[in-house]
């Protein structure tokens, strides 16, 4: 059964001639990826500044006049929402997904470049709508990043007039943008791989992004529905989430709604969202570790199946965010069990990363430092997750800083470390230039040590019972004075780490103009994106013919080979004359 696939169609791509066509209304997946990345990082910097302001208030209460309690809650809300959705989701899927999928699977572009372009512009619109909420009367919503009703839309909550409307609208627009991008990523992986590229020869990066995108396509609908219903509650006066309630001494017109329903919908999205961010990070870090340890990833098949199993399980654990919500207590048993089961495939991944390092030829380059840093922070955040997954442990800890420490470690710091590592790893391919090693190492050590200084004390504060979400502690008997010292220390560390990110941006921007020319494959990596005819890759990626893949992505340090890596598109000697051979492919392991 031989036929030529759509991907092999040799009709020339539509090459835009104008600057605007190449760099603004671009349909090239690589340009779209950079547009996504720059937008996501820019909005992420806003969220970083907000977190600095929050820390200033917590460390030195009342020092800055404009941080009122209302402003504090607005900062908390916007920081959380921006970081989780508009930075991490957009960066890992819109940024890395767009750049890496076609290059790694040997495609010329995404299957529908025009839809892909629309995806970015609609995403930009959602960011603009979100940012607009800073400038409307009442400011952005201060409902907390989970936007729980009834308080999210009742008077008294900051931004209940305009902020919440813009937030919900922005989320709905983001979901439209994500759907357009996500359909592209999934279809591209399924239908547009090159010859010889079986699913089980794809690098872990593609697997992570692929499964995360599927999760997104199935989880964001719940958020969309929740946003639509809350919007109707707020604008038209329906009572989906609003019970009979007395606000400011006056009974509201609502009655009979279910606030818990919102929490179920939100977390049916919210928990897969954790893995939408984590799975691409898992995939990328697997490739970084394997490449820089010059060893094949330990248990490749198991790594892939672990990603798929984690993805599946992530849909049946959402109510572990709701142990204290007042839902039926028997639910807790089911959700605690399913939550702890997720630890099994996750532990498999961690063991396999460590076993990949075991007796490897480890090169402690900057991307590898970040990858190893990730293993530390992820184990750390994962273990505290086991605490919080149990109902009886979660109930006393749920409203304390323990939770803040846990999820910043597992979902904030860990993916961000991978993002840094990945940017350092692929920067030479994307720009054709090399960054400064000294600055890269400085950036790593300040960031890595800094995040421990920030988040480790938070666990201690949580065990003391210091409540999260509070604007200031005031005179609280059970909170000892030492807690305030810890808060000051955390703030100093947080500001230091925040400012230290300037090193990173300086390094990237300076190297882009002044950095030394990079080798096309400086790390000696096997996967296809390093084998492009040009560096940086041009529109169409591969020149006249698509590459043919003969092996998996992890042929490092193969005994008897001339080099310590064999790229995926290098044919085996005995098949060198016969490039057309392509039966059901076998994965060499």
């Amino acid at each position: 059964m031989s036929y030529s696939t759509i991907a092999e169609d040799t009709r020339p791509l539509h090459h835009p001639k104008t600057w605007v066509g190449k760099y603004v209304w671009s349909q090239d997946h690589k340009v779209i990826a950079l547009q996504y990345t720059i937008t996501a990082v820019s909005v992420g910097l806003v969220a970083l500044v907000l977190s600095g302001l929050m820390r200033l208030q917590l460390g030195f209460p009342g020092m800055i006049q404009f941080i009122t309690p209302e402003a504090y809650y607005q900062f908390v809300t916007m920081h959380g929402m921006i970081m989780v959705i508009y930075l991490l989701t957009a960066l890992l899927l819109g940024g890395f997904g767009n750049y890496m999928i076609p290059l790694m699977i040997g495609a010329r572009d995404m299957v529908f470049p025009y839809v892909n372009m629309l995806s970015f512009w609609v995403y930009l619109l959602s960011v603009i709508v979100l940012m607009a909420s800073f400038f409307v009367p009442g400011g952005p919503t201060g409902a907390g990043w989970t936007l729980y009703p009834p308080q999210a839309i009742t008077a008294g909550t900051p931004g209940a007039t305009w902020g919440i409307i813009l937030m919900l609208a922005s989320l709905a627009i983001f979901i439209v943008a994500f759907t357009m991008g996500g359909l592209n990523y999934v279809t591209t992986v399924l239908q547009a791989r090159t010859r010889g590229m079986t699913l089980m020869r794809m690098p872990c990066t593609v697997w992570g992004i692929f499964v995360a995108t599927i999760l997104g396509l199935l989880a964001f609908p719940a958020l969309l529905v929740a946003a639509v219903m809350m919007m109707l509650d707020r604008l038209i006066g329906t009572s989906f989430f609003m019970p009979s309630i007395i606000s400011m001494g006056e009974p509201l017109a609502h009655s009979g709604g279910s606030p818990i329903l919102f929490q179920h919908l939100f977390w049916f999205f919210g928990h897969p969202e954790v893995y939408i961010v984590a799975l691409p990070a898992f995939g990328i870090v697997s490739d970084l570790i394997s490449t820089h340890a010059r060893k094949n990833i330990f248990g490749y098949r198991m790594m892939v199946w672990a990603i798929i199993i984690i993805g599946g399980l992530s849909f049946v654990v959402w109510a572990h965010h709701m142990y204290v919500s007042g839902m039926n207590p028997y639910f807790g048993f089911f959700f605690a069990t399913s939550t702890l089961i997720i630890a099994v495939p996750t532990a498999i991944k961690v063991y396999n990363w460590i076993l990949t390092l075991w007796r490897g030829d480890i090169h402690l380059r900057v991307p590898m430092l970040f990858a190893i840093g990730f293993i530390f922070t992820f184990i750390h955040g994962g273990l505290t997750g086991l605490f919080l997954g149990n109902v009886s442990v979660d109930v006393p800890l749920s409203d304390t800083y323990f939770v803040v420490g846990h999820f910043h470690m597992v979902m904030g710091v860990s993916p961000i470390l991978v993002v840094f590592g990945a940017i350092y790893h692929w920067y030479p391919k994307i720009t054709g230039r090399m960054w400064n090693k000294m600055l890269g190492q400085l950036h790593f050590w300040i960031t890595f040590i800094g995040v421990y200084l920030i988040y480790l004390p938070m666990h201690y504060l949580g065990l003391l019972g210091v409540p999260r979400r509070y604007y200031e502690m005031g005179d609280t008997d059970f909170v000892p004075a030492s807690a305030q010292w810890a808060n000051e220390a955390i703030t100093v560390a947080a500001l230091t780490v925040g400012v230290a990110q300037l090193i990173f941006f300086y390094n990237l921007i300076h190297s882009y103009f002044k950095g030394p020319k990079a080798d096309p494959n400086p790390w000696g990596a096997t996967s296809l994106e390093w084998q492009t005819p040009q560096t940086p890759p041009v529109h169409g990626n591969w020149g006249p013919t698509l590459p043919t893949v003969y092996r998996w992505a992890y042929d490092y340090s193969v005994p008897g080979a001339a080099q310590d890596f064999i790229p995926q598109n290098v044919p085996p000697e005995d098949m060198a004359q016969d490039h057309e051979t392509r039966g059901p492919a076998v994965v060499e392991e």
């Binding site: 359909l183 999934v186 399924l190 090159t194 396509l217 009572s239 989906f240 009655s255 279910s258 059901p584």
Partner: protein, 231 residues
């Protein structure tokens, strides 16, 4: 491109007929769904995502219906019409459902004629499908008008729980939006079929992709009908 001459017979000949075929499709290179157009694969995945949207809407509806403190209105009484002096429960919905299911029939025939490269029959059946869809939306508009004139609002209604009106307008509105988009979509594709666009570029599968969307909208209606009107 060889698949531009794809016919249904090709599908039958090459279709794997066992679990082995499934495994081999997923374990080979290039394409998981052999010879499936990108647009068709993408539409299937989109519909899977859209299924989750409607599932969330319907689950939310069931939740608020189960947890509301005021009795739920009786759909048989609310959705009744007085015809010839007789009070007939659910008659309008029955007709709407019949019309929409019929439109799936005409759509399926359009897809069949599309694969036979019968330009005129394909276009005619697609226009017929769009017309039936338009009838459905019109009847829905009539239903909304009638309920609104009787006092039903998203925030309150004369018969019971306020969530009745809220879920009714939201879910039928969202579905009606899908039908309306579908009518426009089908009309555009039918016009392109009639103009011979797909005879020239060979991409008659566009008709099937539009059909997938249309059948999905019909299928969703069956669930809305069962859960909202019959429960």
């Amino acid at each position: 491109m060889s698949q531009t001459t794809l016919t249904q017979q090709d599908h039958l000949v090459t279709a794997p007929n066992s679990l082995e075929g499934l495994v081999s499709d997923w374990s080979t290179d290039q394409e998981v769904f052999k010879k499936v157009q990108w647009g068709k694969a993408m539409m299937w995945i989109f519909l899977l995502s859209d299924t989750f949207i409607f599932s969330c809407f319907l689950t939310s509806y069931m939740t608020v219906r189960a947890s509301t403190t005021v009795p739920w209105p009786n759909p048989s009484e609310v959705f009744a019409l007085t015809l010839f002096g007789q009070n007939v429960p659910l008659i309008l919905i029955a007709i709407m459902t019949f019309v929409l299911i019929s439109s799936s029939g005409t759509m399926a025939m359009a897809v069949n004629f599309g694969y036979r490269r019968n330009r005129k029959m394909t276009a005619a059946l697609m226009y017929a499908t769009a017309l039936l869809g338009l009838m459905f939306v019109s009847m829905q508009a009539f239903e909304w008008t009638k309920l609104i004139s009787e006092g039903a609002r998203p925030w309150a209604n004369p018969w019971g729980a306020p969530q009745f009106g809220a879920t009714f307008f939201m879910i039928t509105g969202f579905h009606g939006l899908h039908v309306t988009i579908g009518v426009i979509y089908l009309t555009i594709i039918a016009t392109r079929v009639l103009n011979g666009v797909y005879d020239r570029n060979g991409k008659y599968e566009v008709v099937e992709i539009a059909g997938l969307y249309w059948h999905f909208v019909d299928l969703v209606w069956v669930f809305i009908f069962a859960f909202f009107y019959l429960w």
